[in-house]
């Protein structure tokens, strides 16, 4: 066979070939995918043969084999969970802190908890009332989201300061995903919004009552905001104060089924998954619920979640819990330079 020109495939496709050879995808399938993408059969076959023979790929295959064993372990763990209620998102009222920590926090299970916000003055919030009390406070809102599909990756380009009252007008103007007050805006730490923070009573025994503003976040936006499928690196208690949100969850141990992008996001649109492009997502366990005002969703670290606001909505989250260290964190892998 004639050796291919070094430029027969561009760098991105050669990287793709190396990735798939290392992962053990059958050669025929790699060649077939290359042909489907418009590469000629001879070049495709030669490139796969060349990659397969490269000593660097032998090392990558060994690493991929270990990765495969880790996946097998996660799949087996998933089978155990599936046989133990893993296909259901539990909805509970009156869960004592001891059970919450035993079954959900340390059990690494999500749960919808009802009644946790009972007694919080925040349950009396209205958009009009918030406008009256805090309308003059300058807040930061993420704007221009619709025009930038990658807004979640370019947060800093979308920061827009405005009076809180003006933003509440936008929130009530109608459905939109163009603007959203998301956690990274640090609004919750603003002195002018201290009164809002004071209206939130931390759930007794689950969140310490001396929880700090930086250990909470405020999410506020119109109906129609969408947070793409992603995971957080710590446990989160998402408390729905106003409006409803549809939430989809995928277990942390199914990471290999969601096509991670950049570590904590996913290539999959959980609202309309393209299974021709992301076929393994069809095997993922997707738990779905509508979070009603007054309900709280415990999302364990690493669990993937997609969220759409069904109404103008206010959500407050806690990321400190009544455990030693305050939370459990997923650590970053050693830096490899990989995207």
């Amino acid at each position: 066979m004639t050796a291919p020109s070094p430029t027969a495939l561009d760098g991105s496709w050669r990287g793709w070939v190396a990735e798939n050879v290392a992962l053990g995808v059958p050669d025929g399938e790699i060649v077939s995918a290359l042909r489907d993408a418009g590469h000629d059969a001879v070049t495709a076959a030669a490139e796969v043969e060349r990659a397969s023979a490269h000593p660097y790929l032998a090392a990558a295959r060994r690493i991929a084999a270990e990765y495969g064993r880790a996946e097998a372990l996660l799949d087996a763990y998933g089978q155990l969970r599936a046989a133990d209620g893993g296909g259901v998102l539990e909805r509970r009222r009156g869960v004592a802190p001891a059970e919450f920590f035993a079954r959900y926090y340390h059990g690494h299970r999500p749960v919808v908890l009802q009644g946790l916000l009972d007694g919080s003055p925040a349950r009396e919030w209205t958009f009009g009332g918030l406008r009256h009390r805090f309308g003059d406070v300058t807040v930061e809102v993420m704007t221009g989201r619709e025009a930038d599909p990658d807004h979640a990756w370019r947060y800093d380009a979308h920061r827009t300061p405005m009076p809180f009252g003006s933003y509440l007008d936008l929130v009530e103007a109608g459905p939109s995903n163009d603007n959203y007050m998301v956690p990274r805006n640090e609004n919750w730490r603003r002195d002018g919004l201290a009164g809002m923070r004071d209206d939130i009573v931390p759930p007794a025994g689950i969140v310490p009552d001396d929880v700090l503003p930086e250990e909470m976040t405020l999410l506020l936006g119109p109906a129609g905001t969408v947070t793409p499928l992603h995971h957080d690196n710590m446990n989160i208690l998402l408390c729905q104060v106003l409006g409803r949100k549809r939430v989809r969850l995928v277990p942390s141990f199914q990471r290999h089924l969601v096509y991670p992008r950049g570590g904590t996001f996913s290539h999959v649109d959980a609202d309309a998954p393209d299974l021709s492009r992301f076929p393994d997502y069809a095997s993922a366990t997707v738990l779905e619920t509508v979070l009603e005002p007054g309900e709280a969703l415990f999302i364990p670290f690493g669990w993937w979640h997609w969220v759409r606001a069904l109404d103008p909505a206010v959500t407050v989250s806690f990321h400190r819990f009544a455990v030693p260290g305050g939370n459990t964190y997923l650590s970053e892998p050693h830096s490899t330079g990989a995207a």
């Binding site: 990287g15 990735e19 798939n20 992962l23 995808v25 059958p26 399938e29 992301f278």
Partner: protein, 52 residues
């Protein structure tokens, strides 16, 4: 898929520590089910340097 248990022919493979009454059931090895072959990863985005 369940693992496949393959009994040893006769009892020749069973170590002495296996009691006589279970020697006929002695299993030489367990063949683990193979995972399904991997499917190709999504093609690279135009202009990227690595697979998606």
């Amino acid at each position: 898929m369940k693992p496949t248990l393959r009994p040893v022919a006769g009892t020749g493979g069973a170590p002495d520590s296996i009691p006589a009454h279970v020697r006929s059931n002695y299993v030489e090895c367990i063949t683990l089910p193979a995972r399904a072959p991997r499917r190709p990863t999504p093609p690279p985005a135009p202009g990227s340097e690595a697979g998606a």
